[in-house]
């Protein structure tokens, strides 16, 4: 069942059907969300208009964390079942998650300066987010440093799984340690501790960010699958031109390439 769903051709077909809808949802919810966040939502009674940074900061941080959960989950699937789609999904998630983690750090800094009086503090939440950012960079560096795709995939997946320990640390950092960062105000026991005038724009921005993530992830997986197909086609073309002697040189790579082609045809 997992395998059926994870068939690359089927994935591309499903993605092509979903992408127009995701595009509409992303555009629409960003338009409404930004309008509410910047114009109709009230300033905070303590923080004034600086509270508006929250509407881009919190969803960015969430996407950074969620992107890593997808990356780690797909890496696990790639290590265990060696499925090419899982590994493409993990690779595709990394730059998106890294971008949002960077944005969470940047917008947090821009919010911290007026509210806490400092751009940065080495406390648990901020430091664990910085570690997440470096994990993403390390993951992407591993992919580009190792030429052999299977080796790169394996090494990167192991790094991703080791780094997954950071995810619960980030989530609970505000409970486990004393930190300047505020504790959870949405996903907490007893419901959100936020006025609905702020909760609505924030919720819509969360929808926008999640739809955007899903859309860009699908685009990037499609790009990765197409790049692999091109690689295989070029290899086969070269092998054919060089004749049967060359074919025997790379039977493993050829077999693998054949499998990708059959799935992709």
């Amino acid at each position: 069942m997992m395998h059926r769903f994870a068939n690359p051709t089927r994935f591309v077909r499903l993605a092509d059907r979903m992408l127009p809808w995701l595009f509409i949802v992303t555009l629409g919810s960003f338009a409404v969300g930004l309008y509410m966040a910047l114009i109709t939502s009230p300033p905070d009674y303590q923080q004034g208009d600086s509270v508006r940074i929250m509407y881009v900061h919190a969803p960015s941080a969430w996407m950074g964390l969620f992107g890593y959960m997808v990356l780690a989950g797909a890496s696990f699937a790639s290590l265990v079942w060696r499925h090419p789609l899982a590994d493409a999904a993990a690779k595709a998630s990394a730059p998106i998650g890294a971008a949002f983690t960077g944005l969470a750090l940047l917008t947090g800094s821009l919010w911290g300066q007026p509210m806490w009086g400092t751009w940065w503090v080495w406390d648990a939440r901020l430091t664990s987010m910085l570690v997440l950012f470096f994990l993403y960079l390390g993951y992407m560096a591993l992919w580009s440093a190792i030429e052999d795709r299977q080796k790169a995939s394996k090494a990167a997946a192991i790094l991703a799984l080791v780094g997954a320990i950071n995810v619960p640390i980030i989530k609970f950092s505000v409970d486990w340690w004393n930190t300047l960062h505020q504790p959870a105000s949405i996903m907490r026991q007893g419901g959100p501790s936020m006025d609905s005038a702020m909760l609505w724009p924030l919720g819509i921005m969360f929808v926008a960010f999640n739809a955007y993530y899903a859309m860009v992830l699908m685009w990037r997986i499609k790009a990765e699958l197409a790049a692999r197909k091109i690689e295989t086609l070029r290899y086969n073309q070269a092998a054919r031109q060089e004749g049967p002697a060359a074919r025997q040189e790379g039977p493993a790579a050829r077999q693998e390439g054949q499998a990708v082609l059959e799935e992709g045809s």
Binding site: G48, T107, Y212, A223, N236
Partner: protein, 56 residues
């Protein structure tokens, strides 16, 4: 309008935050869309030319 841009005195913090987020969102989106478009087309083109070669 100028009151809106002023952001209650927090303009220098609020606007850079929004510009950075939306800038990255747009650039990453366009780059991802373009690369899947070109790569998918290239894969289809290669496959077609190889199929034609096979027929000869």
């Amino acid at each position: 309008m100028s009151e809106f841009l002023h952001m209650g005195g927090y303009a220098v913090f609020v606007w850079p935050a929004y510009v950075a987020v939306m800038g990255v969102v747009v650039i990453l989106g366009i780059q991802s869309w373009r690369s899947q478009k070109t790569l998918t087309a290239e894969a289809a083109r290669l496959k077609q030319t190889m199929g034609e070669e096979e027929q000869h």
